[in-house]
C-alpha cells in the first residue's frame, strides 16, 4: 500500500534539530518502499528557506507556515496547524523527532487526530501494511514492539537511532503554504523570555564522552619545566594530555571524563570522574584514552553504546569491552583523530 508520510521538522528559531532530518530520511525510505510520498511540515517564523533543505533531505512536498505568531515554541497554536495540515493531507504516517517539542506535538496530534502515538522509537519495520515500532521501556531493561491500529500512525523517533540522509541539492518539490488564522488574543500562553544555555556538556547528559586516565601523564616526548618535582611533572604532563582530550571533545560536542586514577593523582577535578565512585554514564560513544579499564571504571561506563579504547598496553582489560581498540600512544593518535573527525563533521 502506498503511504503518505508527514514529517514534522523541529527547529529552534530556524535552527533545525538534526534528528528532524533523520525523521525525514526515514519518511523518504518508507515512501520509496511503498511507492508513496514524503511530506515535511515546517512551522515557525522566518523559516521559508528550511523548505529547500527539506527537499534536499528527501521531502517530496512541504507544508509551510511562516508567521510571527509562531516565533516561539507554544504547543497549542502549532498543534492547531498540525491538525489542520494532517486533516488536509490525510497522511498514513506522521513522524516527529523525539525532542521536547516533537514529543509534545506528537502527543497532541494523537488526541486531535483520534489516533495513537509510539514514542521514542529506536527501530521500525514497515514491510507489512502496519508499521511495527520498537522502543525501550523500564529504563532500557526491556524492549517493546508496538503497533497502531488507527490512522495516522504517529511515531516519534529517538535522536541518532536512524540514519541522517545525505542531502541531495538536486532535489526540489512543491510548497503548500498553510493559512494561519490564529489570533494572538486567543492564546492562553505568552513566551516572556528565552534564556539560552551556555555551551559545555555535562557528563551525565552527554551523548559522547572522551575520558582520560593515567596514560595522560605518560608522554616521554615531553620535557617538563625543571622546577617541578616528580609529582608536579606528572600533573604538568597530564594537563597536556587532557588538552588533547579537550580538543577532541570540543570537536565532538562531547563531555570530558576521567578515571579515578587520574583524579586521585590530581590531573583533573573530581567532577570528571567516571566509575563506581564517580558518575555512571551511558553515552552513544565513549572514547577511553590511556585508561586500563579497572572494574570500578567499567562499572561506570560499560553500558555505553560504542566504546573506543586507545591504550599502549595491548593487554589492558578495557579492550575486552571496547567495540574498537587502538593499541598506541594517545598523545600520537589524538591529534590526527581530532583533525580527521573535525574535517568530517565540518565538511
Amino acid at each position: 500500500m502506498t503511504k503518505k508520510i508527514l514529517t514534522y521538522i523541529d527547529h529552534f528559531h530556524g535552527k533545525v534539530q538534526s534528528s528532524s532530518w533523520e525523521a525525514l530520511g526515514l519518511a523518504a525510505k518508507i515512501a520509496a518502499d511503498s511507492g508513496g510520498e514524503a511530506a515535511a511540515l515546517i512551522l515557525g517564523e522566518g523559516v521559508n528557506d528550511l523548505a529547500e533543505q527539506a527537499f534536499h533531505y528527501g521531502a517530496d512536498q512541504v507544508f509551510l507556515a511562516d508567521h510571527a505568531i509562531l516565533k516561539d515554541f507554544r504547543p497549542e497554536p502549532l498543534a492547531e496547524l498540525i491538525a489542520a495540515a494532517a486533516g488536509d493531507y490525510q497522511p498514513d504516517v506522521m513522524i516527529f523527532p523525539t525532542t521536547t517539542r516533537g514529543r509534545t506535538l506528537a502527543g497532541m496530534a494523537a488526541v486531535d487526530l483520534e489516533s495513537g502515538v509510539m514514542v521514542d522509537v529506536i527501530d521500525l519495520d514497515w514491510k507489512e501494511d502496519k508499521i511495527t515500532a520498537t522502543r525501550s521501556i523500564y529504563g532500557g531493561k526491556l524492549l517493546a514492539k508496538l503497533t497502531c491500529s488507527t490512522s495516522p500512525e504517529i511515531i516519534t523517533i529517538r535522536t541518532r537511532a536512524f540514519d541522517k540522509p545525505e542531502p541531495d541539492s538536486g532535489r526540489s518539490g512543491s510548497i503548500t503554504n498553510l493559512e494561519v488564522s490564529l489570533d494572538p488574543a486567543d492564546q492562553a500562553t505568552t513566551v516572556m523570555d528565552i534564556q539560552e544555555k551556555a555551551s559545555g556538556v555535562s557528563l551525565t547528559d552527554a551523548s559522547v564522552i572522551v575520558t582520560g586516565g593515567r596514560g595522560t601523564a605518560i608522554n616521554p616526548a615531553l620535557t617538563p619545566p625543571d622546577d617541578l618535582d616528580e609529582e608536579g611533572a606528572d600533573v604538568w604532563k597530564a594537563e597536556q594530555g587532557f588538552d588533547l582530550i579537550q580538543n577532541l571533545a570540543d570537536v565532538l560536542g562531547a563531555a570530558v571524563g576521567a578515571s579515578r586514577a587520574a583524579v586521585d593523582a590530581g590531573y583533573i577535578e573530581y567532577d570528571h570522574q567516571v566509575g563506581q565512585t564517580g558518575k555512571v554514564v551511558s553515552p552513544d560513544l565513549y572514547i577511553a584514552c590511556g585508561i586500563s579499564g579497572a572494574i570500578q571504571h567499567l562499572a561506570g561506563m560499560r553500558s555505553s553504546k560504542v566504546i573506543v579504547a586507545i591504550n599502549k598496553d595491548p593487554d589492558a582489560p578495557i579492550f575486552n569491552f571496547a567495540r574498537f581498540g587502538l593499541v598506541g600512544d594517545m598523545h600520537e593518535i589524538l591529534p590526527p583523530l581530532t583533525a580527521g573527525l573535525k574535517a568530517y563533521l565540518e565538511g
Binding site: 502527543g107 494523537a110 529504563g139 526491556l142 524492549l143 497502531c148 491500529s149 500562553t189 516572556m192 573527525l341
Partner: protein, 259 residues
C-alpha cells in the same frame, strides 16, 4: 488553589525486569511511586503552602495498588482519588488521558494539574500533554520553576526547559504542568504523614462513576522482549602510523553512526 497531582505506581527502579510468558515481571521488587511524580507532589505542596488550598493525588491503577497514593498522602497531600476499572487493562496513552481528564472534570474547580515529567516504566511523557489537550487547557511541560502564581488573575509564570535553554512562559489557569527534577528535591514523608496515609480512605472510581464509556486504544504491544545482551566483538584497528590508525578509526566511527 485546588491542585491535582497525577501519580503513578511503578516497579522499583532497581528491580530486575523480565518477561515471562509474554508478561512483564519485576520479581518481588516493591512497587513505588513513580520517582518523577514526587517532584510534582513537592511542587504542589509548596504552591499550596504559599497560596493556600488543597492538593489531591489522582492515580489510575489497579485497586490494590496503593503505594503511589499513600506516598503522596504521606508527603502531605490532603486527599486522593483512585481510578480503577478492570476494563482499562491495556489502555494506551490517549485512552488513559481521557480517563484522567474525566476524573479531573469530576473533581472539578481545579486550578492546576501537575504531573511528573514522565514515568520510569513506559517513559512516554505524553499524559501531561494529552490530558491538557483533552481539557483544552494550556500544556506546560518540563517546568523547573514556578516564578509567579496569581490565582486571583488565573495566571502563572513558569520556567520550562528545552534542549536549547529555558523558556519563561506566562499562562492562564487552569493549566496542566509537568515538573522536572530541576524543581528541587522532594521531601520525605513525615512519620505523622505515614501514619495518616496508612489510615487514609479515598474514593475509588470506575468508568461508570466517571460517566464515560471505555475509551478505545490505538496502540497495542504485541511483543515485549528482554534485550539480547550483545556479545562485544572488539575490532583492533591496525595501521603503520598513528595517522593511519586515526584515519581508519574516523571511518569506522562514521560507519557506526555515533557521531
Amino acid at each position: 488553589m485546588k491542585i491535582i497531582v497525577c501519580v503513578k505506581q511503578v516497579p522499583d527502579t532497581a528491580a530486575t525486569m523480565a518477561v515471562e510468558n509474554g508478561n512483564i515481571s519485576w520479581g518481588d521488587a516493591p512497587l513505588i511511586i513513580n520517582p518523577w511524580d514526587e517532584f510534582a507532589v513537592e511542587a504542589a505542596l509548596n504552591l499550596v503552602a504559599d497560596q493556600g488550598g488543597e492538593v489531591t493525588a489522582l492515580c489510575l491503577g489497579k485497586e490494590e495498588e496503593t503505594e503511589a497514593i499513600k506516598h503522596a498522602l504521606a508527603m502531605g497531600a490532603d486527599a486522593a482519588v483512585l481510578v480503577s476499572d478492570p476494563a482499562l487493562k491495556g489502555s494506551d496513552n490517549v485512552a488513559a488521558s481521557k480517563v484522567l481528564a474525566a476524573a479531573i472534570t469530576k473533581i472539578g474547580e481545579v486550578d492546576l494539574v501537575l504531573f511528573g515529567q514522565q514515568s520510569v516504566d513506559t517513559d512516554t511523557g505524553l499524559l501531561p500533554v494529552q490530558v491538557a489537550r483533552l481539557l483544552k487547557w494550556p500544556s506546560l511541560t518540563l517546568v523547573s520553576k514556578f516564578e509567579e502564581v496569581t490565582p486571583a488573575e488565573n495566571s502563572l509564570q513558569v520556567v520550562r526547559s528545552m534542549e536549547e535553554g529555558n523558556q519563561i512562559i506566562k499562562s492562564l489557569m487552569p493549566a496542566v504542568v509537568s515538573v522536572t527534577k530541576d524543581y528541587g528535591e522532594p521531601r520525605y514523608p513525615s512519620f505523622m504523614g505515614i501514619r495518616k496515609a496508612s489510615k487514609a480512605e479515598y474514593p475509588v472510581w470506575n468508568l461508570a462513576d466517571l460517566g464515560i464509556d471505555l475509551p478505545s486504544s490505538s496502540i497495542s504491544w504485541p511483543e515485549v522482549n528482554e534485550p539480547v545482551e550483545q556479545e562485544i566483538v572488539t575490532e583492533i584497528i591496525d595501521g603503520d602510523t598513528a595517522e593511519e590508525k586515526a584515519k581508519i578509526l574516523v571511518e569506522k566511527l562514521i560507519a557506526e553512526k555515533v557521531l
